[in-house]
């Protein structure tokens, strides 16, 4: 059971994240990479700005990682999240999960990103040509 978490204001290194979960007992690794899209609901996005309550975000990420071990036979998980200003195509989040068998890797990885988006105190501001919006802030 190996957990590795990171919040960084410099570009994320995909291979470094994946290497955290490789293991001789591992038969399948699922990796989710969240990237900055060029549009939201048809509107061109210039850039995103991510802000984190870092100490609490790491605690919530730790909880998610531990939950994956409770629910699935996984060997290792790494969760890396970027903060600061991101351009289109930049990587905002990487989650890698290693398991003996692929079903657990897929399901735990999906759970981790779904839950991260609900519980981890990180905020995203979308910047458009004509203004900016803190995502999900208003009904």
């Amino acid at each position: 059971m190996k957990i590795q978490l990171k919040i960084s204001d410099t570009p994320l290194d995909l291979m470094a994240c994946i290497n955290q979960v490789t293991d001789p007992a591992c038969g399948g690794i699922d990796v989710f990479i969240g990237t900055v899209r060029d549009e939201t609901q048809g509107k061109p996005v210039l850039r995103l700005e991510f802000e984190a309550y870092e100490s609490m975000a790491l605690r919530e990420m730790q909880k998610i990682a531990e939950q994956t071990f409770e629910h699935w036979p996984v060997l290792s998980i790494a969760i890396h999240h970027r903060t600061g200003v991101l351009e289109v195509g930049d990587v905002a989040v990487v989650i890698a999960v290693g398991a003996a068998h692929r079903a657990a890797a897929f399901e735990a990885c999906r759970y981790a990103i779904d839950t991260l988006k609900l519980t981890v105190p990180i905020w995203k501001k979308e910047v458009f040509e004509d203004g900016e919006v803190w995502v999900a802030s208003h009904p």
């Binding site: 969240g34 991510f50 802000e51 984190a52 309550y53 100490s55 609490m56 975000a57 605690r59 999240h81 905002a92 989040v93 990103i113 991260l116 988006k117 609900l118 519980t119 981890v120 105190p121 990180i122 905020w123 995203k124 501001k125 803190w134 995502v135 999900a136 802030s137 208003h138 009904p139």
Partner: protein
Amino acid sequence: MKITLRAFGIAKEICGGSTLELELPEHATAGQLKQLLVLQYPRLGGLTSFLLGVNQEFAAPDTRISPSDELAIIPPVSGG
């Protein structure tokens, strides 16, 4: 008692800064602090929701606040 709160995301913009100080009755709860924040910063009430972080955990409404707690206003998260 005097408390210090951190504010993040849109809460930082609504409250005009990343930390704010407030005067709170002794033994106040997180629920009471939220009500006071909405009175003082009505735009917080217009958010989809907001939570309080007490010592880096999401606080239930009946959580007691003490001046030494690490407190934070947590608007709707949107990481990932």
